[in-house]
């Protein structure tokens, strides 16, 4: 996993609520056996028409969206299936952080394991971001701060462990492998065996 400390970018805004992982990556793209190249499947059913041509009115196809690394989305973003293909596709497309008032649990967990920063903000900040698409924001992982162009800064929740992993590009498997003695002890000492 790459290190992520600062994400500085204009925002692209998708105000819809409850955007589910079937929209982020439709199931027919899940027959892949690798995480690579999923960016082209991102929001495929919203992004392309039935002949596979980009729909000019879909936000990610507009010139304003080019190069944006921060997605501002409606509440409960990433609900639905556990497919990690969803953050893989967003990252492959170039998104590095998602801002919303609510992000679904499994999507959030998957995002953190891939260096995609989930940023939960209050209603007022969210409302402001929704009505001001394309503003340049800074997401500072170390201080858990989202800085807005008018100088305001709001904190977002991020537990110490996730922060450490993001900042150092540490993947959690290494940490777990280090617990091997404790795991062996647990296996031999537990009262019943599965």
């Amino acid at each position: 996993m790459e290190k992520t400390d600062i994400v500085r970018s204009r925002t692209v805004v998708m105000p819809g609520t409850d955007i589910d992982t079937d929209q982020i990556v439709p199931a027919r793209f899940l027959t892949t056996t690798t995480r690579k190249g999923l960016g082209k499947a991102l929001f495929a059913d919203w992004r392309y028409d039935k002949d596979g041509k980009p729909r000019p009115d879909f936000i990610l196809n507009t010139p304003a969206a080019a190069g944006c690394q921060v997605l501002v989305a409606g509440n409960n973003f990433g609900c639905g299936s556990s497919r990690e293909h969803a953050p893989w596709a967003l990252i492959d497309f170039g998104i590095q952080a998602v801002i919303s008032t609510g992000i679904a649990d499994i999507f959030r967990s998957n995002s953190l394991k891939n260096g995609l920063v989930p940023v939960i903000v209050d209603q007022a900040t969210h409302g402001w971001l929704l009505t001001n698409p394309g503003v340049e924001v800074t997401i500072d992982v170390a201080s858990c701060e989202l800085r807005l162009p008018d100088g305001r800064s709001v904190n977002f929740p991020l537990d110490g462990f996730s922060k450490y992993c993001l900042l150092n590009g540490v993947d959690q498997l290494g940490y777990l492998l280090h617990q091997s003695d404790a795991i062996t002890r647990f296996e031999s000492e537990r009262a019943w065996k599965p």
């Binding site: 899940l30 056996t33 690798t34 039935k50 649990d105 498997l173 091997s180 599965p194």
Partner: protein, 468 residues
């Protein structure tokens, strides 16, 4: 020790390293279920790091998601009926399991099926276990008083390599369900009503415990239907305390303990229900004694109404977008909407009791000419039993297609799809845009409502069609 909830007891029993301010808990996993879609990349990562599988004996594999629902006897058949990518994915899964000594219930096994149907059926799903799968509907297993939750592919790798996961303790939400189920109203209607009440994000960050007289009265298959859709309320997991019903269901199953081990397990399971004064972070109550069969009208499972109601009215932009996608009009009744496809299947409703329910409506009746109806059993076991009882014949004679076991049109990965614009009344769990095929419009309902709608050719109330 202070009073503990069912969840807390299962959690405490699996903590390898306790949670701290700096680090999540290391939680031991007793059963890891796997399927072809969310595992290949996990095996790739392990391979590239030279890691082996810590406990292949605690992992079980099957083929369900991209698998065809037409008969397959050899792997060669796959190439004829499947897309090359789907066939390659299935082959990769079989290979990964063979190389790593993982038990695979694949083609030719009479235990193959949807991962959340076969776990309980085999008796692998047991009270007090931690159960994970790279699949959000792992919540289904909570019906047994297990802690079952969905994980991503990276975490699948963690479990394969260490049999553990890093987890923060979730919050607890008690949902008390009281009242006697009215005739023609099922567990599916109850869970749809619950999601309608608390919303699709209402359970985020929480493990739900379903409690109350209604829940106690449900059989295991109905309890699975309830827990299955916990994720549709955003919850991490859904649990139901084990009781006589649970124990009776498990007794004698192939992977359930036997002899003295069975007695010891039962004694342990008896101690799992929440203590009388256990506290929950939140409690919600729902009275279902007046409940009516429920159907969804929008593009998430929280957009749900009694089948006798009209499509609600709202000015919210996402709500209007959902109605536009569904081609339904606010204020118009749900009853009478033309139906193109009916799907009975998925890990929510593909077990024997679901097939009996659909059959009770179809017996002596025909599927409307304008409707394509698919009945897809959840497992080979269910399929065999249904065929032995002549249900396949009943469905076929009524004009429905009877298929091999798998996920099928629940997510349309295997070629079983509804076409653009078609309205599909489905017993599955997700009515997201395009879930059942590009442009397909899904209406979630119980097997009774689905079958009644198949007969009527329009969305219909099953209650007038119930046998005496």
């Amino acid at each position: 020790m202070s009073a503990r909830s069912l969840f807390q007891k299962v959690w405490d029993d699996h903590v390898v390293v306790p949670e701290s301010a700096d680090a999540p808990a290391v939680l031991y996993i007793d059963l890891h279920l796997t399927h072809e879609v969310t595992t290949p990349e996990a095996f790739n990562v392990l391979r590239s790091r030279g890691l082996s599988i810590r406990r292949p004996d605690l992992t079980v594999a099957t083929l369900d998601h991209s698998t065809p629902t037409v008969p397959i006897t050899t792997l060669k058949d796959l190439d004829v009926v499947s897309e090359p990518a789907a066939a390659a994915q299935i082959r990769t899964m079989i290979e990964n399991c063979e190389k790593n000594g993982i038990r695979m219930y694949g083609y030719g096994s009479d235990s193959r099926g949807i991962v959340h149907v076969i776990g309980p059926e085999l008796g692998a799903t047991q009270p007090g276990k931690t159960i994970v799968c790279g699949d959000s509907h792992t919540s289904t297993h909570g019906a047994f008083g297990a802690l079952g939750f969905g994980i991503g592919t990276t975490e699948v790798g963690h479990v394969l390599a260490t049999q553990c996961l890093l987890q923060r303790r979730p919050k607890t939400l008690a949902i008390n369900v009281e009242g006697q189920l009215p005739r023609g109203v099922t567990a599916k209607d109850v869970i749809l009503a619950i999601i309608g009440k608390i919303g699709v994000g209402g359970g985020t960050g929480s493990v739900i415990e379903y409690r109350g007289s209604t829940i106690r009265g449900l059989d295991m298959e109905q309890r699975m239907t309830i827990c299955n859709m916990s994720i549709e309320a955003g919850a991490r997991a859904g649990m139901i305390a084990p009781d006589d019903t649970t124990i009776q269901y498990l007794n004698g199953r192939p992977l359930a303990p036997r002899g003295a081990a069975w007695d010891a397990a039962v004694a342990r399971w008896r101690g799992l229900p929440s203590d009388a004064d256990a506290r929950f972070d939140r409690e919600v109550s729902i009275d279902i004694s007046q409940l009516v069969p429920m159907v969804t009208f929008g593009t998430n499972p929280g957009m749900v109404v009694p089948v006798t109601d009209a499509v609600p009215v709202s000015d919210d932009a996402s709500f209007r977008k959902a109605l536009a996608y569904m081609k339904v009009e606010a204020g118009k009744p749900m009853l009478g909407m033309p139906v193109d496809v009916v799907f009975v299947g998925s890990c929510t409703n593909s077990r024997m009791s679901d097939l009996y329910a659909a059959a009770s409506i179809l017996r002596g009746r025909k599927v409307a000419k304008s409707v394509r109806m698919l009945v897809v059993p959840g497992s080979v076991q269910v399929q065999r039993q249904a065929e032995a009882e002549g249900l396949d014949k009943l469905f076929r004679e009524a004009g429905a297609e009877w298929r091999e076991a798998g996920c099928s049109m629940c997510l349309g990965m295997n070629g079983d799809i509804a076409l653009p614009g078609q309205l599909c009344v489905s017993t599955s769990n997700r009515n997201f845009e395009g879930r059942q095929g590009i442009g397909a419009r899904s209406v979630l309902a119980s097997p009774l409502t689905a079958a009644a709608s198949a007969v009527a050719g329009v969305i219909a109330d099953p209650r007038p069609l119930l046998p005496n």
